[in-house]
């Protein structure tokens, strides 16, 4: 017990020193933008249920300028309930919001487009159903050359 604790501490100290050494290069700890706020605004403060949304992106994008993206809601939607909107956010882009799809009762809840990604990150999609529930999914993508200019 004592030994295990000390080993964990030693490891944590090592990681800390490593992160400090790399400074701002230590990536995952921070997000560049306010994507969490954007999601909150979209859901009205509700926490979306994970799952039910299929988010498709390539695993690796050599060019962040044009990355194919597909979203679909495949989770259970009850009788008469349809998908109203899907918001896509990118935590490591200069601006969090990427696109907001709006559907109608005659829509099939899926859409595709091409987006720009500035860096390697976890892209997130949040779906809003007509009964006020929210589903979400996120997907990691590696970006070789960022595509947001600047």
């Amino acid at each position: 017990m004592v030994r295990r604790l000390s080993r964990r501490e030693a490891l944590a100290a090592g990681v800390g020193a490593f992160a400090a050494g790399w400074g701002s290069a230590a990536r995952p700890a921070r997000a560049l933008n306010d994507y969490a706020d954007e999601v909150k605004k979209f859901t009205g403060g509700k926490t979306p249920v994970e799952g039910g949304v299929k988010l498709e992106l390539p695993e690796l994008a050599e060019n962040g300028n044009t990355v194919p993206l597909s979203v679909a809601v495949d989770g259970p939607t009850g009788e008469g309930i349809y998908v109203e909107e899907i918001l896509v956010v990118a935590p490591e882009n200069p601006n969090a919001r990427v696109i907001r799809f709006r559907f109608s009762s005659s829509s099939v809840p899926e859409a595709s487009t091409r987006i720009r990604l500035a860096a390697t990150q976890d892209v997130m999609a949040v779906a809003k159903l007509s009964d006020g529930t929210f589903f979400s999914a996120s997907r990691p993508i590696k970006v070789t050359i960022g595509g947001c200019g600047g």
């Binding site: 200069p94 696109i99 829509s107 099939v108 595709s112 487009t113 947001c148």
Partner: protein
């Protein structure tokens, strides 16, 4: 605003039976300037993007989206819907300068 090229629209079918799905692909040419890039003298190039797209059937909303600068140049969309009536599909793109690009397609539902 430069003269816009004609948008390209492809429907999987133009005649469907009720309950069948039409797959729509659209492509419009637009620079989608992010507002984050700088020109040679270091000045920011102002944002100029298409910010809204919508598709209506006989004036009734079918599908649309709000675009941000993270949508690639020459925005492409693919979406699906089940039309309930015959009529005219109207596609509209609006950019930051208020310039509208419009296109129509006629579909038949039997």
């Amino acid at each position: 605003m430069a003269e816009q090229a004609k948008p390209r629209i492809r429907l999987s079918k133009k005649e469907v039976r009720k309950g069948e799905t039409i797959d729509v692909k659209t492509l419009v040419s637009h620079i989608m300037e992010t507002g984050l890039r700088k020109d040679a003298s270091g000045k920011l190039i102002p944002r100029m993007i298409i910010n809204t797209f919508s598709c209506e059937l006989n004036g009734k909303f079918v599908f649309g989206c709000d675009l941000e600068s993270a949508v690639s140049a020459n925005p492409y969309f693919e979406f699906k819907f089940k039309p309930t009536e015959s009529g005219v599909l109207k596609f509209t793109w609006i950019d930051d300068a208020g310039a509208r690009t419009e296109a129509t397609e006629t579909i038949t539902v039997t």
